[in-house]
């Protein structure tokens, strides 16, 4: 059944109609053109579709869009404020945390949620937090380094500015 819903996505209220049986992944990508959220398995087995719901990473392929009503959804597109990027985004770019980049949005969102909870994570904390995001390119090494660098830069209180694109 298609009904009209209001979703709060990246701080914006978006009112649109969708089937109850649509996953958040489908609505984000296909109805809202937020294609930064990727899909790799649609069964919760890879983490490419990770988004934040109320600040917590979930797999959007196993999350009904209708159940997101009343919650704050953050996608990779919502991490930047104007042309100012989140330090984790900058660190991924600077430390070679992305190769093909397909796992990157989900990986970054998991890392952002970690650093919100734990600004000084150990290497094991980082691994635990990213254990639901598969990467096939990097061997994870540069991803871990990027998260560590981001934690450092956030702790230093340095404001990282970067021009998008």
């Amino acid at each position: 059944m298609k009904s009209l819903f209001t979703l709060r996505i990246n701080g914006e209220d978006r009112t649109l109609a969708f089937e109850h049986s649509k996953t958040l992944l489908e609505v984000l990508r296909e109805d809202l053109d937020l294609t930064g959220t990727k899909h790799g398995c649609e069964l919760g087995e890879c983490g490419a579709c990770t988004v934040l719901v109320d600040g917590e990473p979930v797999v959007s392929c196993l999350f009904l869009a209708v159940e997101a009503v009343g919650h704050d959804v953050t996608t990779i597109e919502g991490l930047q404020h104007g042309s100012v990027l989140h330090p984790v985004q900058v660190a991924f770019a600077e430390w070679g945390g992305s190769q093909c980049g397909y796992c990157t949005p989900g990986m970054i969102l998991s890392a952002v949620a970690l650093l919100e909870q734990n600004p000084h994570p150990s290497r094991d904390d980082i691994k635990e937090a990213l254990a639901g995001n598969l990467c096939r390119c990097t061997g994870y090494t540069k991803i871990i380094e990027a998260v560590e660098a981001a934690a450092g830069s956030m702790t230093d209180g340095r404001r990282l500015h970067a021009q998008a694109g």
């Binding site: 890879c46 990027l85 980049g101 096939r136 090494t141």
Partner: protein, 801 residues
């Protein structure tokens, strides 16, 4: 098993051409490099971190509809009848096509034209495409697929190498290959190995098995096709070889290539799994043509396992002769490849299981017999390290055994046998730059290997292996004398630089590589550069992102194009600055006198003066490998303009109660000639090592009851961040005279040695050999139980009872 009939190579089979030395002497000397060798930001470095990169399935077109393929539920069956009428009549269905609509045969290798877009007479594996539907949405397409009636007559399935070698069994292809289900047989012999075995002090024969595995890129294959009524077709596809898709699609659709445009958007990983045309690409194009609207097909993860073209399962037998000091006198290598249902790249794979075995150790006498068979499984093809990973596992494990037999240090034995720079191999391969000894030294010293090998407590171990890989194949897949890579560079009068090149960025950062090289030559910042890649309408041909060819070949093509423009800029700058060209350098968006750096003109000024003098500033460059290889049938596989060399050391521990294998660390030293960007090279080394780790301990593409046993990312295990070992990469530089700024490959070679290094480390840990992959807990348990029963290992407390 068929007995090989030996064919001896002609005596003059070793024309090793001398390396060209004329490239590294341009104006940009190593000590003056501004861009190359630095940890620059990647091209469009923030796009991937912001969700801005548009992969194929992220693109949207007006009136886009959804395609879906109906796939075979039988591993082997005759297709008696396909009736699509019910599907066509369903509301929301725009087009239905099946085998009869697309009868043209194609195949990536000219000698293996054995595929059609949809099965026509027979299906040959579960998952083979039979028909396709375009509909208003995917659910409607699914229902329409279910409404297609297909009448099958099941046939016995051939599911193993042994069954395939049995001439009594039914044939999968009546008109391909030889007796039984043999697809390809290769027999080569160089310098009479029997003489070498007679000279040897020690001869070892071992058998190995390398299990098949698959690429599992994070992005499932996707394609969008749009057909315009004026007769032009545009296809966006997640492919690493747009040029080959261009050629093959033209054949499958019976449509001139001139009317087809293939665009390869950034790919979400490929690793060899997207390097030829697939049914879904033909289906999207044909459906778009029939439906009159653009069609998107996004494969499910399960379908990606059916596309496969991954690592062949290979059974191998090696006989190696050595002298007491460890020097190799001869090798006879035999391989049997389980090819799956179609040819794919399999002819090349078969040769590759033999071609690079004469490196990185000197093998003065060598014979190779290879057999590839058809089975009723998804076709195998090239995966990272194409066809060389399996024999490297076997050879490096056997060398470890030989070293032990002779009481030799495995590093020293490899050092003794290592090939030399500026040399050749018995099978006619030319070796130019070669730092294999440096990689051995670097990896073993970093890990204190010799002090720890065979000295660690029971249950922990350290192992080592080396390897070689190509910087692109010396010959193209289809024979032609044209360049393997072309690039165009255009300079805008505002100073912006555009590069057009047919390369495909699959995450290896080939766009960055092009930007760095052109920026270095022209003295601009990479941010001044735009890269347009992977578009058959706009970019010159590059053969594709496979066989680690892109940096070497497209890098050289782009360098050549940029140098042509640089020369024009130097002409005008030389006049303006009244300085001889030889003294001029480019860098920092200036052209300056190297002896008086204040004597300079801005890049833009030079550009405008040059455009005024010479007209539009655009130039093309191309790269064609030198003539390489021996003069025998099959000599086309193996030659490369340059080889990379790698040594890996693995440190492992085995839980003696649960038999869980932990790979604690892998250290990889890789000779990449010169690192154009060390950060990106490290990423390639680490990624390769990760993938090798997965293949060594958990990945397997296996079948049961004619079906893929694990077609999901839950069941097909790719390592997560938690068990992936610590990876340390060491870049070994020894610039190659022909590589762009000295660069060689880094994206595939570092995978190979990781697997035998792990196997050798497990032996060091528990005293039991693993001659088959993957090394699972179950296998470790069985092997330790057996060894204990047979009294071959001492009984540590943890194993007692």
């Amino acid at each position: 098993m068929p007995k090989p009939a030996s064919a001896t190579a002609p005596p003059d089979a070793e024309p090793v051409s001398s390396p060209r030395r004329d490239r590294a002497d341009g104006p940009a000397q190593a000590d003056e490099l501004h861009i190359i060798g630095r940890r620059n930001l990647k091209y469009e470095h923030l796009a991937k971190a912001t969700g801005g990169t548009k992969y194929t399935a992220d693109l949207k077109l007006p009136r886009l509809c959804f395609g879906r393929l109906l796939r075979s539920p039988y591993p082997h069956a005759r297709v008696l009848h396909v009736d699509t009428r019910k599907a066509e009549a369903m509301p929301g269905v725009f087009a239905v096509i099946s085998g009869a609509d697309l009868p043209e045969r194609y195949g990536i290798m000219p000698s293996s034209q054995d595929e059609t877009a949809f099965a026509i007479d027979k299906v040959r594996y579960v998952g083979e495409a039979v028909a396709a539907v375009a509909a208003v949405d995917e659910l409607t397409a699914e229902q329409a697929c279910n409404a297609i009636e297909v009448l099958y007559e099941p046939l016995p399935a051939i599911m193993s190498i042994d069954e395939a070698l049995d001439p009594e069994k039914p044939r999968i292809h009546e008109d391909q290959g030889g007796e039984g289900n043999i697809h390809k047989e290769v027999h080569l012999e160089f310098e009479s190995p029997e003489v070498g075995f007679a000279e040897a002090d020690h001869v070892r024969e071992d058998e190995f098995f390398f299990e098949g595995n698959t690429h599992a890129p994070m992005e499932n294959h996707a394609v969008i096709a749009q057909y315009e009524l004026h007769g032009k077709l545009t296809v966006w596809s997640s492919t690493q070889t747009p040029h080959y898709v261009h050629r093959e699609l033209s054949k499958a659709l019976s449509m001139p290539t001139a009317q087809i445009r293939i665009i390869a958007p950034p790919s979400g990983g490929a690793f060899g799994g997207k390097s030829e045309m697939f049914s879904h690409e033909v289906a999207a194009a044909a459906l778009a043509r029939k439906a009159g609207r653009p069609v998107l097909i996004e494969l499910s993860r399960e379908e990606v396992f059916y596309c496969h073209r991954g690592r062949h399962p290979v059974r191998m037998r090696i006989k190696t002769g050595v002298r007491k000091d460890g020097s190799i006198t001869a090798m006879h290598f035999q391989s049997w490849l389980d090819g799956g249902a179609y040819g794919s790249y399999g002819v090349a794979t078969t040769y590759y299981t033999g071609a690079l075995n004469t490196m990185p150790y000197k093998v003065p006498r060598y014979a190779f017999d290879g057999v590839r068979v058809f089975t009723n499984k998804p076709p195998c093809g090239p995966k990272r390290g194409h066809g060389t990973v399996q024999p490297r596992f076997a050879i490096e494990c056997q060398l470890d055994k030989i070293a032990e037999d002779l009481g030799l240090d495995p590093v020293g034995m490899r050092m003794r046998n290592a090939v030399d720079p500026m040399s050749g191999t018995v099978n006619g391969l030319r070796i130019t730059s070669c730092a294999v000894r440096d990689t051995l030294r670097a990896a073993s010293q970093r890990t204190d290997f010799q002090a720890r090998f065979r000295k660690l407590p029971f249950g922990t171990g350290i192992g080592l292996a080396s390897s070689v890989y190509m910087s692109g194949a010396g010959l193209p897949i289809y024979w032609n004398p044209m360049p393997h890579s072309g690039a165009m560079v255009k300079i805008d009068r505002g100073g912006g630089v555009a590069i057009y090149c047919g390369t495909t960025d699959i995450g290896q950062d080939s766009d960055s590589m092009l930007a760095y090289i052109v920026s270095e030559v022209l003295g601009v910042d990479p941010i001044d550069v735009r890269v347009c890649s992977g578009d058959t309408d706009l970019t010159p041909v590059d053969l594709g992102s496979y066989s680690s060819r892109v940096t070497f070949m497209a890098g050289n093509a782009a360098r050549q194009a940029a140098e042509k423009l640089r020369d024009l800029l130097l002409d005008v700058a030389s006049e303006r600055l009244e300085t001889p060209r030889e003294r001029l350098r480019l860098g920092g968006r200036r052209i300056y006198n190297r002896d008086d750096t204040d004597r300079a003109i801005d890049f833009i000024e030079a550009v405008q003066a040059a455009e005024a003098r010479f007209g539009t500033l655009a130039a093309a460059g191309s790269y064609t490998p030198p003539k390489l290889g021996g003069k025998y049938k099959g000599s086309g596989v193996g030659p490369s303009p340059a080889y990379s060399f790698t040594t890996a050391v693995a440190e492992v521990s085995v839980d003696l109660e649960t038999f869980e294998l932990h790979v604690d660390k892998v250290t990889i030293a890789h000779d990449c000639g010169r690192a154009i960007n060390p950060m990106i090279v490290e990423g390639q080394i680490e990624g390769s090592a990760y993938m090798g780790y997965g293949e060594a301990v958990m990945e397997e593409q296996v079948f049961r009851k004619g079906l893929h046993k694990k077609p999901s990312l839950l069941e097909y295990k790719i390592p997560t961040i938690l068990e992936t070992p610590a990876l340390e990469s060491i870049i070994v530089e020894g610039p190659d005279a022909e590589g762009p700024f000295g660069a060689k490959e880094a994206g595939e070679g570092p995978l190979s040695p990781v697997i035998p290094a792990i196997a050798n480390a497990v032996y060091d840990a528990v005293g039991v050999r693993f001659d088959a992959t993957p090394i699972t807990s179950d296998r470790i348990m069985r092997a330790l139980d057996r060894a204990k029963r047979e009294g071959r290992i001492a009984e540590p407390a943890a194993l007692a009872g």
